[in-house]
């Protein structure tokens, strides 16, 4: 690959992997089972990214393994009705076309594991999006570093990744214990907990105690918030996540999180007062989350826009079950492909956004110039039901 007999694209991409491997002290390259590439929204990568992708696609670059994409900056089918700007849509479509030409599955989501890209326990993968990386490492027990857009693309085109970091047993050990005494009820409670812990442990690997019976939606919310407020790419939860029993947390520094800390975090994340729009689905909503929203909106009327963002695959199932219809009848939208963080909502007239996601609350002020109302699903809906 490095000598160029497979063409210029593979020569450069394999060189990139080797160089990154040198920088991080990898001993060799290892095959990866699947890839998820970030840097998809035109809002994030702009013209430089678009031109790079078109150029490499034009040179015949083709992925070797199952490769998914992170969300683009708009619903790829329903963007016009939702009010996404035309000039933005044109560029976004060119980006998608370039990815498809490379053989990448353009099911674009931050929850690939809910949409047909599910690694097994212990499998080496090269994923990018920080919440997907956290879920794959922590909840599934697959192994990935947090890849950048180009390094993930390189892994997809070459089929390998450098062996360092979270691919290694010894780098998956916890370095801090988080003892949770707060009562975690709503998914937003897990988001607030994740936001608080991510701020404290930064790049660390937390080992949670005191979390009982969390479902995958709640673990998704927890991991996403920790990856956003900190850079947590792996966490363990006693008696819940698959590698926790292999770990020895004795003697580690302990952080305690009670009702007081959780309440303070809710306070900190609320920077706005009256939301113009409420957006659920960060990370992309599961079918269970869409069903829950539909259940709460059945026969009701909304006075402000409510979106739930999800992958195309989940939306199809929601359509079939009639959830989409119920949500739309109430005045809400099931938005596929994109999400509030990577879409240009600040250009669409929204100034204050209501969310139940710790991750979205973390990013919306900076990326989308939004004030944030952070609360659980019931509190948020109460503000907008007639």
């Amino acid at each position: 690959m490095l000598s160029g007999e497979q063409g210029e694209v593979i020569e450069r991409m394999s060189r990139l992997l080797v160089r990154l491997g040198d920088i991080y002290g990898a001993d060799r390259m290892i095959p990866v089972g699947s890839v998820q590439v970030a840097g998809v929204s035109y809002k994030s990568i702009g013209d430089p990214g678009l031109e790079f992708l078109e150029d490499y696609a034009g040179k015949g670059a083709k992925v070797r393994i199952l490769t998914y994409l992170n969300p683009p900056g708009m619903d790829l089918e329903n963007w016009k009705d939702l009010g996404f700007p035309e000039d933005f849509a044109e560029k976004q479509m060119r980006i998608m076309k370039a990815f498809r030409k490379m053989g990448i599955i353009t099911t674009a989501t931050c929850t690939p594991y809910l949409a047909g890209n599910l690694p097994r326990f212990g499998e080496h993968i090269a994923w990018s999006e920080s919440s997907a990386v956290s879920f794959a490492n922590s909840v599934i027990g697959a192994r990935t570093n947090r890849e950048g857009g180009p390094s993930a693309l390189a892994a997809a085109l070459c089929g390998v990744t450098p062996n360092y970091g979270l691919h290694l047993d010894e780098k998956r050990k916890p370095n801090v214990v988080v003892k949770v005494s707060a009562d975690l009820k709503f998914n937003s409670d897990f988001g607030a907990l994740g936001y608080h812990v991510g701020k404290q442990v930064k790049k660390g690997i937390p080992y949670f105690r005191g979390i009982e019976g969390a479902n995958t939606d709640q673990l998704k919310a927890l991991g996403a918030a920790m990856a956003a407020s900190g850079a947590v790419a792996l966490y363990h939860v006693e008696n819940l996540t698959p590698e926790a029993h292999l770990m020895d947390p004795k003697g580690l520094e302990t952080i305690e999180v009670g009702e007081k800390e959780l309440k303070e975090t809710y306070g900190k994340l609320n920077t706005g007062k009256d939301p113009d729009i409420i957006i659920f689905g960060c990370p992309h909503a599961s079918l269970r989350e869409i069903a829950a929203l539909a259940g709460k909106l059945e026969g009701k009327r909304l006075k402000k826009p409510v979106w739930i963002c999800t992958s195309r695959v989940m939306r199809e199932a929601a359509n079939r079950m009639g959830f989409t219809e119920v949500i739309e009848k109430a005045g809400g939208k099931v938005v596929a492909d994109t999400c509030m963080v990577v879409s240009p909502i600040e250009r669409m007239g929204y100034k204050t956004t209501g969310v139940n996601s710790g991750k979205a609350a973390n990013y919306l002020p900076g990326f989308c110039k939004q004030e944030v109302v952070f609360g659980n699903i019931d509190e948020l809906l109460k503000r907008v039901l007639t």
């Binding site: 210029e8 450069r12 060189r15 990139l16 160089r19 990154l20 920088i23 840097g39 994030s44 990568i45 702009g46 013209d47 430089p48 990214g49 031109e51 790079f52 150029d55 950048g148 857009g149 180009p150 390094s151």
Partner: protein
């Protein structure tokens, strides 16, 4: 060596880090970051010398764009190349060396860069 190749040219030196995204115009090769010591100068065909990259990871794609648009530096010389610049020069195919004592180089010096050998000579 970060990326192989040889180049000769005139040095353009920045003592502060360079962020390529929003820092250099990929169409013209001119430094556009407000208040940057190289603001208004072109990096085209020069040997661009700076301590390290900074800022957005999209900077890698800007480096690629500079090359594609024919306004890239002939080579990049760093004190320490971080991943944004390393990724960019490899994608673009621009010779790049790091670990160089760049304090000894000044703007206008005629430089000979041999990235394969990881050497930089002032002629």
């Amino acid at each position: 060596m970060i990326n192989p190749g040889k180049a000769k040219g005139e040095a353009i030196v920045s003592r502060e880090p360079i962020g390529f995204y929003g820092g250099i115009d990929a169409k013209t090769g001119v430094v556009i970051e407000k208040g940057h010591e190289l603001e208004g100068k072109s990096v085209k065909d020069k040997i661009l010398v700076f301590p390290q990259g900074k800022g957005s990871t999209v900077g890698s794609y800007v480096i690629y764009g500079l090359k594609k648009n024919g306004v890239a530096p002939a080579a990049i010389v760093n004190k320490e190349t971080e991943t944004i610049v390393a990724t960019g020069v490899i994608l673009a195919g621009i010779p790049c060396v790091d670990g160089i004592d760049i304090d000894k180089i000044k703007t206008g010096d005629k430089l000979k860069v041999d990235a394969d050998e990881a050497t930089v000579e002032v002629e």
